[in-house]
Symmetry: C2
Subunit: 285 residues, 2 copies
């Protein structure tokens, strides 16, 4: 018997590859996995045994939540080098996400085990003067914001070193409201420096404006900063201090000081009314 005539019906192909018929039809429709032959009269799909390995690769990738268009891109890449790179990139992303999820699970376990072990510090009202800085601004997605910030900060420090300039305080970030309300907005990261920086790459010289802020300090990993945000927002709301304006963050201890995120310390600054001489207050949530 001729091996070429050994077509598999969609049902047989489903059994061979462990993909549902609905999936196979879907993959046909979007052109990801086209049957070797389609009967022009009945519309019956016919697959060959040769297509099984391809189907299995697709199934494996889907099992790892790779989007269909990415799978398609990988399969369309004939260049072995590029192909391997794309796959490796996806696997790295996956492993990174695995780490984050593991961390989140542990963190939630902690939260549930000791519900009120809040190491959330006091809230301080602060008048921040204007300061000259080297800065990078860009519109970014909320998800990639943390990563983007690290990269931009690295670029700024590298340029300061190249220009023989010294940082003049902790690095900071300025976050447009859109970043929170639409999950996409303008972010500025800056490093104060006495001398005006010479613009190179994405870097610009920026006069960071003066503001009145309610400030809280978050100790620990950025993944758990939400609690400090909540405490700060509660305080500002209860005291009716709220005013429009971007949120600030200052990185007292961060990537540059230690890779151990548990030791990081971040100040969050929420814009408030100019209250003149404000007494230092304790948060009372």
């Amino acid at each position: 018997m001729d091996a070429m005539t050994a077509y598999l019906s969609i049902g047989d192909f489903s059994r061979a590859t462990h993909m549902s018929i609905k999936m196979l039809r879907h993959y046909h429709q979007i052109g990801l996995l086209e049957p070797a032959d389609v009967d022009p009269h009945t519309g019956y799909r016919r697959y060959t045994a040769d297509q099984i390995p391809t189907a299995q690769v697709i199934r494996r990738f889907r099992g790892l939540d790779m989007p269909l268009d990415e799978i398609q891109a990988v399969l369309a890449t004939s260049d072995v080098q590029t192909r391997s790179e794309r796959i490796a990139a996806h696997l790295s992303r996956l492993e990174a996400e695995l780490g984050r999820t593991q961390h989140a699970v542990a963190s939630l376990r902690d939260l549930l085990a000791a519900p009120s072990s809040d190491p959330i510090g006091a809230i301080e009202l602060r008048s921040v003067p204007a300061v000259a800085a080297a800065a990078i601004s860009q519109t970014v997605d909320a998800e990639e914001c943390a990563m983007w910030l690290q990269g931009a900060l690295g670029e700024i420090y590298a340029s300061l070193t190249a220009q023989g300039l010294a940082a003049n305080g902790h690095p900071g970030g300025i976050f447009d409201d859109d970043l929170y309300t639409d999950y996409r907005g303008r972010v500025t990261v800056f490093v104060p420096c006495g001398t005006t920086v010479h613009p190179t790459g994405r870097i610009t010289a920026l006069e960071v404006p003066a503001v009145e802020l309610a400030v809280i300090t978050h100790s620990g990993s950025p993944t758990e900063i939400d609690r400090a945000y909540g405490a700060l927002a509660t305080y500002v709301a209860r005291h009716a201090l709220a005013v429009r304006g971007p949120i600030r963050e200052n990185y007292l201890v961060g990537q540059r000081e230690t890779p151990d995120t548990c030791q990081w310390r971040t100040e969050i600054g929420w814009p408030i009314f100019q209250t003149g001489t404000v007494p230092r207050e304790q948060a009372n949530p």
Copy 2:
């Protein structure tokens, strides 16, 4: 100033909780997180600072991909005991999935590193006689099939022991086509035993029918059994042997023998034409 009047607009609440406005409106619509007040004239949503912790819990759970209705169920549970159990259950599911994904990543890395290290065995055509067995049958989803099978098998062995009966061969499974084509179908798991079993629980006495099968053996974890299925389907297609009927599996080495899934050995049987005296053949994919 009165703390009770300290409402937050949806924008402020978004900044306080790191949830987008779209999310907050969505959660309002489905009743997961209702604003403390809605202005009857303008429709403006007003939140209180008290709602921030609840919102944060929701955000944490969503970060772990918990479905919204499950979150709702957890929050609606006033009984602390039940609530903790539900959360713990979700975390356990998550950790199990983490393990599976890690395994899948590693497996795919292997596959890419050594593309043709196929330890896939020979294919044998076999006449299987009918056999008396203790069995459990049920319609299950493809995803939960493996888990279900372990549980059912455990029940069967326990009952055999209780009735003083001995197993008379390896345990096996019978899988309706629907399980592959629709991801939901009838599955039967059985253990051959000489004496007729007394029906208890889900267990019935079953005469497992005789069949002609093409059989391949898969060595290793069930998560990688897809390759053996592919090889077997290819063989059956190329030799035009296919015939309707449920697929069989025999568990030569499984959970009962060793928890190390790498050492498991599973036979897969694909129904074929009754060919009378068949010569033993080698697969030639």
